[in-house]
Symmetry: C2
């Protein structure tokens, strides 16, 4: 299970996933897609601002523990999570690990 | 002082600030500008993800207390705050009040 894996230090283009490898992992991640900038992305909806912020904090604990941080959009009733790996110039396995762990949060 | 004011329930285009009124208030808000979508915007920089998230939580308390919520962008070392008032179709005094209160946080 992706959600049981730990992020590893990855640097260099050899760790960038090609499209077919990314699609195989994406199939394990309900709700996620790859956006037009090549980022792994999911939008989560909430009933208000406080619950969206609470989710952000739980998500932040995962990011901090894994040493891999998404770019977030947050407002009243929503959180959008954007993941990519700057040091590989695209998507790495770490993005999918963090996404899977975030999916575990959303139940 | 804007930062001492409380947000008021505002609805309808009569509460939308015209450009000159907005510029007068903007002059009281160091660091803020109006972006190309007409939103009041400021970028805050931090040393890491945890401090950016802590700032987001303090900012969230202001938003919740004022009943006026920004759209945020949050990631490693940064928070971008975007304010506008959907119910007036642009910027209202409430946006400037919340911005001033957020500036009080950043010291």
């Amino acid at each position: 299970m992706l959600a049981d894996e730990q992020c590893q230090p990855l640097s260099g283009p050899e760790h960038k996933l090609n499209d077919s490898a990314a699609q195989v992992l994406l199939a394990q991640l309900p709700g996620w897609s790859v956006d037009d900038q090549g980022r792994l992305q999911r939008r989560f909806s909430f009933d208000n601002f406080v619950t969206a912020l609470a989710f952000t904090n739980r998500l932040g604990e995962i990011a901090e523990a894994q040493g891999h941080h998404p770019d977030l959009e947050l407002g009243w009733g929503y959180v959008v999570v954007n993941l990519s790996t700057h040091d590989v110039g695209g998507l790495s396995r770490n993005d999918f690990i963090v996404a899977a762990r975030i999916n575990s949060l959303s139940g």
